[in-house]
Symmetry: C2
DNA sequence: CGATGGTTTGAGGTCGGTCAAGTTAGGTGG
DNA sequence: CCACCTAACTTGACCGACCTCAAACCATCG
C-alpha cells in the first residue's frame, strides 16, 4: 500500500495515495485502528454527543475492514446490521433485473449504510468499497434494544432516518428537474462540503469514484458527465484533471447548480 | 369513453363522484366519521396488528378533515406531528427558491406523511389535499414515547421509515434511468396496485391529480405525460380519457415499465 | 355568455444519449 | 526493458427523445 516512488504527478498510484491521505485525515485520533469500538465512539462518529445516562460502554461493535472494490453487502442478503463508516469511501447502488444500476450514495465517514433494509428482512442495495475503508457494524436488534431504554439514543436513530430521507428527497429534486451541468455542479459542491466537514480541503480533492459511477448517480451518461466537467472548466469554475479536481469559483458553481432544465412555473 | 357502468359521460361532476366512491371504499367500516381515533385504529390503518401488550386505547389521536386543494402543511413550518391518511388523496412536494416544484408522493389511505421532518424541527415539504381527505395527526413526541416502552410499536415505526426509504429509492431509479413512457407506465401500475390494495378496482380508476402534478412527480413536462398516455393508448395497453383511465394489458404495461432509456451496461 | 383551468396536439429546437475513435495510464508476461 | 492488453477518460459527429412554444378544445363557473 505504501509506495513512495515519486515519479509522475498524474499517475494512478498518485491518486491512490491522495485518496489514502484523505482517509487518514478522517480517522479518529484516539483509536489506533481497533478491532471494535464502543457505543460512545459510534455516536461521536455520527456527530452526536453521548447520552446523559452515560452507559456509553454498554456495547462494543465490530469494525470491518474492506479492500478496494470489496463488497460489503449484496442486494437480497439478510438484513443484519447497520454500518457506520469510519474511514474510506463506499458506494451503494440498486440494480434491477435488467442489470441497470442506479447509484444511490457515496457514504463517507459518519454516514450510515443500510437504513432502508429495516422494513424488510432483506437488504435492497449493493454496497461496495471504492477505497480501503473501515465500517462499524451495528446489529440493528442491539441498536433498537438500546434505544428503547434511552430517549436520547432513540432520538439519534430517528434523526438518522430523517437525515437519510431528506437526502433522498433532495436527490429526487436533482434528478427530476436539473440539467446535466447543474447536476454535476451540485455533485461537486456536495463532495466539496463533505470533504470540508471531514477536515479535508474544500476546494481541492480527488474523486474516489469513476465517471461511470458519477453518471449512474446523477442519472446521466458518463460522456455527459465528462462533457459537463470540461464545460465547467472552460467557464473557469473548476479545474479537472482525471480524478483530481480544484474548485475555483464556489459562488458561480452554486448559482449554476440551482439551474433547472425547465422554466420556473408557478402551479395553481 | 365509458365509466364503470358503461354510461357515456365525461363531466367533471361525474369524475368527482367516482373519486368520492373510491374514497368511500377506503373508509373504515367501524368508525362512523369520528373526531379522533385510538392507537389501535391507527395501527390498523398502517396495516399493523395491535401489539400484544394491548394498551391499544392508551392514546386518542385527532382526525383532521381537509377540503380539496386545502394545505395540510407548508415547508418551513414547525414539525409537530406525523399524519396518517385515513381517506382521500394528498400530494407532497418540495419547492426550491426558484419555485421549481418536485412532487414527492401521492399519499393515500394508510400512508404516512411527514417522516422526513423528524431529523429537523422544521418540515421540508408542502402537503396538499387533492380530494376531500381525512388524516390522523400523531404528535411525534407521543409516538416515540409510546414506542420506547413497546418493542412492537418501535418496530412499526422503524418499518414505516424503511418502507419510505425503499419507496424513495425506487423512485430514484425511475427518475435516473427510465424513459418517459416507462415512467408513465410505472406510475399507472403503481396507482393501479394501490387502488387494488384499498379495495378499489385495479384496472379502472380516476386520476386524483392533474397532468401537471404527474409530470412534476415523474420529472417530465405535462405535454410529455399527455403524449405518453396517448402513445400507450394507441398501443392498446390502456384507455385514457381525461382523468379516467382503464388498464387493458397489465403484462405489456409491466414489460414496458421496466424499459430504460439507456442500454444495459455491466459495470466492473 | 365570456373567463378560466385542464388537456391534447402540432411544429420546431435542443439537450443529452449513442456510437465511434483516440489518448493515457496501468498491468502482465515475455 | 518492451509488447500487448485492458480500463478509464475525453472528444467528435449524429440523432432522437424530450422540452418549448403555440394553438385549439372542452368542461366548469362566474
Amino acid at each position: 500500500m505504501y509506495n513512495v516512488n515519486g515519479d509522475k504527478c498524474t499517475s494512478e498510484e498518485d491518486v491512490r495515495r491522495e485518496v489514502a491521505a484523505v482517509s487518514a485525515l478522517t480517522m479518529t485520533i484516539s483509536g489506533r485502528d481497533p478491532a471494535c469500538v464502543s457505543l460512545a465512539e459510534v455516536l461521536a462518529l455520527l456527530g452526536e454527543v453521548l447520552p446523559d445516562g452515560a452507559d456509553g460502554t454498554s456495547g462494543r461493535f465490530a469494525v470491518k475492514r474492506l479492500q478496494r472494490r470489496q463488497s460489503l453487502q449484496r442486494a437480497g442478503e439478510r438484513f443484519k446490521a447497520l454500518y457506520i463508516v469510519q474511514s474510506g469511501v463506499l458506494m451503494t447502488s440498486s440494480s434491477d433485473a435488467h442489470g441497470i444500476e442506479q447509484v444511490l450514495s457515496f457514504p463517507m465517514r459518519g454516514d450510515a449504510i443500510g437504513l432502508d433494509g429495516i422494513g424488510q428482512d432483506k437488504v435492497a442495495t449493493d454496497v461496495m468499497a471504492l477505497d480501503v475503508s473501515r465500517v462499524v457494524a451495528v446489529p440493528f436488534v442491539q441498536l433498537s434494544d438500546l434505544s428503547r431504554g434511552n430517549s436520547h439514543l432513540q432520538r439519534v436513530v430517528h434523526r438518522l432516518f430523517g437525515r437519510e430521507l431528506s437526502r433522498d428527497r433532495e436527490m429526487l429534486r436533482v434528478l427530476g428537474s436539473f440539467s446535466a451541468e447543474a447536476r454535476v455542479a451540485n455533485f461537486l459542491l456536495d463532495l466539496s462540503q463533505r470533504y470540508a466537514r471531514l477536515g479535508g480541503s474544500s476546494d481541492v480533492f480527488v474523486f474516489p469514484m469513476r465517471r461511470q459511477d458519477m453518471a449512474r448517480y446523477l442519472g446521466l451518461q458518463l460522456e455527459t458527465v465528462s462533457r459537463a466537467m470540461t464545460s465547467l472548466t472552460s467557464l473557469g469554475l473548476v479545474e479537472v484533471d482525471g480524478r483530481r479536481v480544484a474548485i475555483r469559483d464556489v459562488c458561480a458553481l452554486r448559482r449554476l447548480s440551482q439551474r433547472s432544465t425547465r422554466q420556473c412555473t408557478r402551479p395553481h
